[in-house]
């Protein structure tokens, strides 16, 4: 997951690197996602998560398309 200034730059990158366009999120949305995804990661009680729990986190920030399904 790489950081760019604009979607135009991402299209340029995909052309150069032969990458899929995939999906593009604003950095602010990625911060929202990172807080849900990573906050418990060093809690002593953390025991991983199921795919359903992971998809639930995506849906909490509005990521509900098939792209965000495991």
């Amino acid at each position: 997951m790489l950081l760019f200034r604009s979607e135009e730059e991402i299209r340029q990158w995909c052309g150069q690197a032969g990458e899929n366009y995939g999906e593009v999120l604003a950095l602010a949305k990625v911060w929202d996602l990172a807080q849900l995804w990573y906050r418990p990661r060093m809690a002593p009680a953390y025991r991983g998560r199921t795919t359903q729990e992971a998809e639930q986190i995506f849906s909490q920030v509005g990521l509900v398309s098939s792209f965000w399904k495991f």
Binding site: L3, F4, Q16, W31, Q35, P44, G48, F67, K69, F70
Partner: protein, 153 residues
């Protein structure tokens, strides 16, 4: 997120030790360091590493068994350097660069490199608020393919 491999309580304690060591020392522990911490043989420590790897809790170099990643942390330099509490940590990707302040609940300064121009981009998290440019993060692969090739992802 794979659930086929059963981890023991000790495996989970080893996992937590790996993360804490990684944050404190800016690198993951070696197999020998983990074995010493838990009074295990190196072979037993390596077996625990491999179980954690199979459960996607850490990611190992296949040949050596050394830890390459414990998300969001990278053992190798990347495009994303995160300064936190007087230490410098490498994040695996742009998402993980924000995973470090989330995981540590700490203020950070992030120095990213632009993939096309190598230009330096600065952003930060202060008091749980993102401070930075309105940039975009590219997710090339759908979630179901993230574990096919993690270095690529």
């Amino acid at each position: 997120m794979t659930e086929a491999i059963e981890l023991t309580d000790q495996d989970w304690r080893i996992r937590l030790f790996i993360y804490q060591f990684f944050v404190d020392n800016e690198r993951p522990p070696s197999i020998q360091e983990t074995a010493g911490q838990f009074s295990l043989s190196e072979n037993s420590a390596l077996e625990a590493y491999r179980r954690l790897n199979q459960r996607h809790q850490i990611f190992l170099a296949p040949e050596t068994g050394q830890i390459l990643m414990a998300h969001p942390l990278s053992a190798l330099p990347t495009l994303y350097r995160v300064a936190v509490n007087g230490r410098n940590l490498w994040a695996n990707c742009a998402w993980d660069s924000l995973g470090i302040p989330a995981m540590l609940d700490a203020d950070v300064e992030i120095e990213a490199r632009h993939p096309l121009s190598d230009e330096v981009i600065h952003y930060a998290v202060k008091n749980r608020e993102l401070v930075g440019p309105p940039h975009r993060v590219h997710f090339a692969l759908p979630a179901r393919r993230w574990y096919d090739d993690l270095v690529h992802t």
